[in-house]
C-alpha cells in the first residue's frame, strides 16, 4: 500500500540580492520530483553533496515549505495541512538527523529529550511518560541508568540511539533519516544499521534513508532513488538499480564507490568533472557535461523519468536508456 505519494515537488531558494534589491537568482534545490513509498519499505535516497536529497527530505516533512507540488501521506495532503493538521501529522512522520548532538538540547537530560515529543502531544502523565521513555531506551539498546545523563556524556553511536528513541516516541509510521550513520565509525555504524532494521521489523516502520554511501543504501533499502542536481535520475528496486543500472550517473556513482576487495581493484573507471552549480544547471540533461554517452540531443532536451524496458517499477531519465 502506498504510504507516501510525492508529485512534482519543487523547492527553490532565492539567493544573493538583499532586502531592497530583491533576489538575484534561484537555486532549484529540488525540481519536479515524483515518487511513491510503500508502507513498511525503505526507500534509499542517494546522491552527492548539493543534489537536493536533504532538502527533499526536509520538504516532505514541511521543515521547509515546498515551492510547488503535492505530498500525500495516506489520505492527507501534507503541503496543504493547516497548523493543527500538521501537528497531528507530525506524530506519524518523524526525522532522524546525521548528528543527533546538534539536534538534542544540551541542557536537557536525554530522558527529557526523548519525553519532549510526548509532552508536546500531551500523551500520558509524567509518570507514564517516564515509563514509556524507559521502554524506548530498552528498544534502542540503551541502559536505564543513562536516562538522566546529558548528551555530552554520550558517544556518537549512543547519541544516534537517543535520536532514534526520540523519533520513535510518538510511534510514527514514517521516519526520514538524513545520513544517520555517516558520522559514525564502521563498527558503530553496523550497530545502528542493525538496530534500524530491527526497529523497522518490530514497528512496521517505513523509512526514507538519505545517504551518500552506496554500500549502506544497498544494504538497508528495498528501493533506491538516485538524485542529481535536484532531480531523480533513476529509481527502482535496489537490485535493479545496482545490478541493471540504467543511468550513466548511477553507474558512475557505483563505479566510484570503493570496494573492500583488493582483487577487484582497477575494475572501475573515473568520471570526469564536477557537479554543476544548481544556480546555473546545464541545459538539456543536467548530467551532460560529465556524461560519457552525451549526444547533441542531451544538450538540447531534458530527459523525462520513464520506465526501463517497459517496467514501470524501474525508471530513469536518460535518452540512451533501453525503453
Amino acid at each position: 500500500m502506498t504510504l507516501l505519494d510525492v508529485r512534482d515537488l519543487s523547492k527553490h531558494f532565492p539567493v544573493g540580492g538583499g532586502f531592497f534589491r530583491g533576489s538575484k537568482a534561484l537555486v532549484r534545490a529540488v525540481e519536479q520530483v515524483s515518487f511513491t513509498v510503500n508502507e513498511g519499505e525503505t526507500l534509499g535516497l542517494v546522491g552527492e553533496s548539493g543534489c537536493g536529497k536533504s532538502t527533499l527530505g526536509r520538504t516532505l516533512l514541511r521543515l521547509e515549505e515546498a515551492t510547488s507540488g503535492t505530498v500525500r501521506f495516506g489520505d492527507k495532503d501534507v503541503l496543504k495541512a493547516s497548523r493543527s493538521e500538521l501537528f497531528a501529522l507530525r506524530r506519524d512522520m518523524q526525522m532522524v538527523f546525521q548528528d543527533p548532538y546538534s539536534s538534542l538540547n544540551p541542557r536537557l537530560t536525554v530522558g527529557e529529550s526523548v519525553a519532549e515529543p510526548l509532552e508536546i502531544h500531551r500523551i500520558g502523565s509524567r509518570r507514564e511518560r517516564r515509563e514509556m521513555v524507559r521502554e524506548l531506551f530498552r528498544k534502542v539498546g540503551l541502559r536505564d541508568e543513562m536516562l538522566d545523563r546529558f548528551p555530552n556524556e554520550f558517544s556518537g553511536g549512543q547519541r544516534q540511539r537517543v535520536g532514534l528513541a526520540r523519533a520513535l516516541a510518538l510511534r510514527p509510521r514514517l521516519i526520514v533519516a538524513d545520513e544517520p550513520v555517516s558520522a559514525l565509525d564502521v563498527s558503530v555504524q553496523a550497530q545502528v544499521l542493525n538496530l534500524m532494521a530491527a526497529l523497522q521489523r518490530e514497528f512496521g516502520l517505513t523509512y526514507i534513508f538519505i545517504s551518500h554511501d552506496l554500500s549502506v543504501v544497498d544494504y538497508i533499502s528495498d528501493r533506491i532513488a538516485v538524485m542529481y542536481l535536484g532531480r531523480i535520475v533513476e529509481i527502482g528496486p535496489r537490485e535493479r538499480v545496482f545490478r541493471q543500472t540504467a543511468h550513466p550517473y548511477s553507474r558512475a556513482l557505483i563505479a566510484s564507490s570503493p570496494i573492500p576487495d583488493p582483487t577487484r581493484r582497477g575494475e572501475s573507471s573515473v568520471i570526469r568533472g564536477e557537479i554543476a552549480s544548481p544556480l546555473n544547471p546545464p541545459s538539456g540533461c543536467a548530467f551532460n557535461p560529465r556524461c560519457p554517452l552525451a549526444t547533441e540531443q542531451c544538450l538540447r532536451e531534458r530527459p523525462e523519468l520513464l520506465p526501463v524496458l517497459g517496467d514501470a517499477s524501474h525508471q530513469t531519465a536518460c535518452h540512451h536508456a533501453p525503453r
Binding site: T42, E48, S49, S155, D185, V186, S187, V188, Q189, A190, Q191, L193, N194, A197, Q200, H212, L214, S215, V216, D218, Y219, I220, R238, E239, F242, A252, L253, A255, S256, S257, P258, I259, P260, D261, P262, T263, R264, R265, S268, V270, I271, R272, E274, I275
Partner: protein
C-alpha cells in the same frame, strides 16, 4: 633500507581527565614508491602517528615520549629543530582531511603558492607564477590560471584538495603523508583524487602513507596496511592478506561490519560489542580483550606483542585467526 621506519613510537597528551596514551609503541616502515595504509577507528592514534613523523604534535598538550622516526636511517625526533625545514615539505610532505581549514581563507590561491614558492624555493614574480600554474596543471586542475586568482571559498572541495596536493608536491617529496585526504569529498571526486595520487606516485616513485578509516579506500589504493586499535598496531601485512585472511579478531570484526555488495538487511551486519577503552591507564593485557570473542584468561594478563606469523604478516594477538606458519 626502508625509506621511513618508525620504531616503538609513544605519544601522550595531557587532558583534564589525565594523561592520554594516544600512541603507545607503534612501529611501521614504508619502502620507496609504495603505499602504506593506516586504518582504524576514531581515536586509534592513526593521525597522531602521522603527525609525529614531522614533529607536528602540538606541545603542550602533546609530547612524543619515546621511539624513533628513522628517515633514510636518520632519527627525525633527534635532529635539531632548525634542520626540520629541510625535511618538511621537501622530502616529506603532508595533506590533511579538511582543505578548508588548511587554506587561509583571506589569501588567494596565488598568494598561498607565492609564499611557499618564495620561502621554500626562492622563486618570485613571473617565474613563481609559471611554476604555480604548472603545479596546478599537474594535479588536473581545470582553468589553472583563473583558479590562481580565486579565494579558497570559491573552489569546490575537490578543487581545494587538488590545490593542497599541488602545494604538497612542490618540493617533489619522496614521501607524501595523506591524512584522510578524501573523507570530506563526494565519491566521484574521491575516486578522481585517489587516481591522481596513484598516477603521481608512479611518475615519481613517491611513497604514500595513507591514513584512512575506509577499508574500501585501503583495498583500492594500498600495497601494505597497518590496522591500529587503541594506540597500538594490531595487524600489519600486504593488503591482499588482510582481506583474504585477517589474523586479528578486531580486523575480522571491522571487515564484517561493512555491508558487502548484495548483502541485505535480512542478514545483520557483524558488530564489535562494547566500546574502545579510554587510553588513560595502560591496561595489563590486550586492549581488545574486553570486546574480543576469542579472548581467554591469558589475554587479560599478558600484553600481546606484534609478531610475524606468516611471510610479511604480523599480528599482535595470542589467538590469531590463522595458524602460524611452520618455519
Amino acid at each position: 633500507m626502508a625509506l621511513l621506519e618508525i620504531k616503538n613510537l609513544k605519544v601522550e597528551f595531557d587532558t583534564e581527565a589525565g594523561v592520554n596514551h594516544a600512541v603507545d609503541g607503534v612501529s611501521l616502515s614504508i619502502e620507496a614508491g609504495k603505499t602504506l595504509g593506516v586504518v582504524g577507528e576514531s581515536g586509534c592514534g592513526k593521525s597522531v602517528t602521522a603527525m609525529s613523523v614531522l614533529r607536528l604534535i602540538p606541545r603542550p598538550p602533546g609530547r612524543i615520549v619515546g621511539g624513533e622516526v628513522l628517515w633514510k636511517g636518520r632519527n627525525l625526533l633527534a635532529i635539531p629543530a632548525k634542520e626540520l625545514p629541510d625535511v618538511r615539505g621537501k622530502q616529506i610532505a603532508m595533506v590533511f582531511q579538511d582543505p578548508m581549514t588548511s587554506l587561509n581563507p583571506v589569501y588567494t590561491v596565488w598568494r598561498i603558492f607565492g609564499e611557499v614558492l618564495e620561502k621554500q624555493f626562492g622563486l618570485k614574480g613571473a617565474a613563481a607564477r609559471r611554476h604555480a600554474i604548472e603545479a596546478l596543471t599537474r594535479v588536473g586542475m581545470s582553468e589553472p590560471e583563473t583558479r590562481l586568482d580565486q579565494y579558497p571559498h570559491e573552489l569546490s572541495g575537490g578543487m581545494k584538495q587538488r590545490v593542497l596536493i599541488a602545494l604538497a608536491l612542490l618540493g617533489e617529496p619522496e614521501l607524501l603523508i595523506a591524512d584522510e585526504p578524501t573523507t570530506a569529498l563526494d565519491v566521484t571526486i574521491q575516486k578522481q583524487i585517489l587516481v591522481l595520487l596513484k598516477e603521481i606516485q608512479r611518475q615519481r616513485d613517491m611513497a604514500i602513507m595513507l591514513i584512512t578509516h575506509s577499508l574500501g579506500v585501503v583495498a583500492e589504493t594500498c600495497d601494505d596496511v597497518l590496522v591500529m586499535y587503541a594506540g597500538r598496531v594490531v595487524e600489519w601485512c600486504a593488503v591482499e592478506q588482510l582481506f583474504a585472511s585477517p589474523a586479528h579478531p578486531y580486523t575480522e570484526g571491522l571487515l564484517g561490519s561493512i555491508p558487502r555488495p548484495g548483502q541485505t538487511r535480512e542478514t545483520p551486519l557483524q558488530t564489535i560489542e562494547g566500546t574502545v577503552p579510554a587510553l588513560f591507564e595502560v591496561p595489563k593485557g590486550c586492549r581488545f580483550a574486553d570486546r574480543c570473542p576469542r579472548s581467554q584468561e591469558r589475554c587479560r594478563i599478558d600484553d600481546p606483542q606484534l609478531r610475524l606469523i606468516a611471510p610479511g604478516h604480523r599480528v599482535a594477538c595470542h589467538f590469531p585467526l590463522i595458524e602460524e606458519d611452520e618455519q
